[in-house]
Symmetry: C2
Subunit: 523 residues, 2 copies
Amino acid sequence: MKNFVVHQLLEHALITHPNQEIISGKHHFTYKEFYTRVIRLSNSLKELGIKKGSVIGVLDVNSHRFLEMHFALSMLGAVIHTINFRLAPEQMVYSMVHAGDDWIFVSDIFSPVVKPLFSKFPNWVLMSDNSSQTLPEVENFHHYEKLIEKGLIKPIPEADNIKETDIFSIFYTTGTTGKPKGIPYEHKAILTGAIQLFHHLALHKHGARLSSRDVFMPLIPFFHIHAWGMAFFPIYLGTKLVLPGAADAEAQQLLIKKEKVSWLNMVPTQLQMLLEQKDFGNVKVLTGGSPFASGIAQRATKANVKFSLIYGGSDQLASAISIVPEDIEANTTQAQEWLRVGLCPLPLVEISIKDKNGNEVPHDGATLGSIWIKSPWLPKEYYKEPEISKEHFINGWFKTGDLGFFHPNHLIYVADREGDAIKSGGEWIPTGMLESIISEHKAVELIAIIAIKNEQWGQRPLAILKTKEKISDKELLDFLQTKVNEGKLAKFWIPDSFIFVDEIPLTSAGKLNKKELKKKYSN
Amino acid sequence: MKNFVVHQLLEHALITHPNQEIISGKHHFTYKEFYTRVIRLSNSLKELGIKKGSVIGVLDVNSHRFLEMHFALSMLGAVIHTINFRLAPEQMVYSMVHAGDDWIFVSDIFSPVVKPLFSKFPNWVLMSDNSSQTLPEVENFHHYEKLIEKGLIKPIPEADNIKETDIFSIFYTTGTTGKPKGIPYEHKAILTGAIQLFHHLALHKHGARLSSRDVFMPLIPFFHIHAWGMAFFPIYLGTKLVLPGAADAEAQQLLIKKEKVSWLNMVPTQLQMLLEQKDFGNVKVLTGGSPFASGIAQRATKANVKFSLIYGGSDQLASAISIVPEDIEANTTQAQEWLRVGLCPLPLVEISIKDKNGNEVPHDGATLGSIWIKSPWLPKEYYKEPEISKEHFINGWFKTGDLGFFHPNHLIYVADREGDAIKSGGEWIPTGMLESIISEHKAVELIAIIAIKNEQWGQRPLAILKTKEKISDKELLDFLQTKVNEGKLAKFWIPDSFIFVDEIPLTSAGKLNKKELKKKYSN
């Protein structure tokens, strides 16, 4: 009997797809070559003293080296800490100290940024094409490519003794509130969560349906749940994998064309940037991570991008994907809209939306409540945070901190973060839904709604906009009035004022950084 | 955190697809109604004293009642023994005694057959539409529908405490050699094996690719690995499920038409019988269990039946499915042929084909060897058979007793059972491959090859044929000579003699019953 452990995916793909390609920058590897690099690396890491239970921080964009580390460390039973490079420097250091990183592997893209940390941690490995490059001032330095060069091609006996309940990885939430929280994942949890997600996407005839012949490119960074599981699934399946490195939207578009990429994942803001590019082929996109504005969805459909929505997060993995209900005709506008607003729990996942008293809200398409999750791949706790864990992991359920409602057909809509929603005159205004409606105006490029204090109503919405062309408050108000007339908007949701800006700050996960916006505009 | 336990599938489907249909004979249930019956049943079974660790034998065709038993017993932590109704009576009794059945649930279809057993086992439940029917002479008798009627609709507290490593079911191999062997399966193993199989089928663009909108009908009986997992997957997915009961090929064809069945599983002989029916719609079929003759495959393709092949068994669950290699154009004759002869291990499954010395045979498309399997859902042993277990379960591997070879592209061909292959002049003749070639002749309906003793060669092949029209030995020899000329057949494979019969006996799994044929014709 075999275990569900990460490195077995690669061993399997090696048997079934030895000549399949992994592309990363100028590098082209077959699975066989990739496997050989992993084995050499793993043997060298063992020489460095890395063993079961060691914690290794890796700081890189989505590269072949970062992916190799997933499998090489899995074979040794070491824990990979995928460092979130979009954290503020002090938060990044906090996560590295909190996780207890024994070694830090950093790519040359990030080595200048972390220079101040060289003296704080003793053991560093530089990941770079240039093998003569070093990290000065570092106590114990190795070059990644030299480790591979020196590494023997011989089996790793430890690999056969890794258990599916051993910890495979740890990553930190972006910490929009407070300090980052670490989440440790067992091999089995991270694999079954990812495999269920991708497999399930293959079952649906609409949206980002995938097949064994797709070419995958993860635009979600590995530090974010291993690119929403894309570090595993293409390997599991033996498909062609394209790693985008630090490619910007224009370079991504070129890669899609050149390598015939057909299946990608990205947050809505990345999709929006890609949509600014000229035609980039007939691709399928899994998106999510924040409310998906109808304006972007409409532009995606126009560009022939087939999309599905995922609901999940660092602390719950994948919980739901969007589906078209059985009674809706495929390929209609209505079907498209369901893909944006109708989430179905993955099989084996339970989702409840509860009111203040802990009772499930009615399935009426309107009543907002707090979203709770139960699933086979839920973590047990935040790493070394017993108090915070108790607030979120309760009786086998996870309290997400998201606000949503049930459609009458039991599908789920995620409306907002609980901390972001606005309470105006005792009534909720979910900012995500309001942003979505305003995004439908053709002049709007990016829109964030935050609460401002109001003596009469408690809170009122303020709209912060980045526009593509000049537009007046009056024009926006007229547009929103038509939405009120169409019954799509409650009149009291209309923002009291509009602020036009050149840039809207984003969080490390590419979401609207409302914390920063509130700091600047709320009071 | 949730466990992977069987009844959770139903609880999930109830949330997402409460109004989906389950059809069984004249009965139409929504998932909600089905769930209510299961809860009532489970509460009644508890009253009968059925509890964690109880073993319950069920003897029925694929009906809603049999399916209900799967979930009701799962909630109580009891073990379902799916009795193989195609076993010889003495073997059936052997399995019931060996499993230690505490209760026997029998449908009215089978109650007359098992009448001699009424006095041997004390506790019986009759599954029947007619609620006034009883089983005379039975010590402790209950009627299934009355149990449901009496059962309370209240939660089963035990259901929350079932562990994924608890035993869910036990079933017995058909025992073509020796006595039947029981195989106990944990919840987790049986579910992950089934889910991986069906999910994986959704990924491939060819063959029996399935989707969340398919309508399922299992023609494989539940006693055979829970209908190759179909007791679970449609429920897991929340799709429409049609249970064929005791329907014959003609009635099956009518059901397919009426209920818009799109996805079925069956052994090749069942497919052959269905193909005798007039057009039965645009269906997808998963087949396997014995070598799939090219003659039947050709007829299936002509009838617009899309098929995939599965390789697995009671003692290994699903191990491989057929795929079209990446370099083969879809929808070509070549692609069709690969679906018949090219098996790819499911991800996480390892398959090795070994020679006499235990070394893997070369991947040359010819060298036959013994097939070994390693997978996450492999059982640990045969039930209460330590000695036989030791011969088959070795160092985490399972010795299947099948003979096969690797194609040069690493896909696998299963040629024969080791005990069936013929050794002629020191060379193997795999009977499955020879049967396949002979089946291509239009007059041949069913063909079995067995070994007969031969002084000069050791063994020689004998062909036993059921034909659709009269045909002479000479015509068959001419036909086979053309196959020799085409390079598809070695001359020494041509059978020495042909026997024409009215019926060829089949085993309980619908395979050619070679044991019986050998008894009659071999010596």
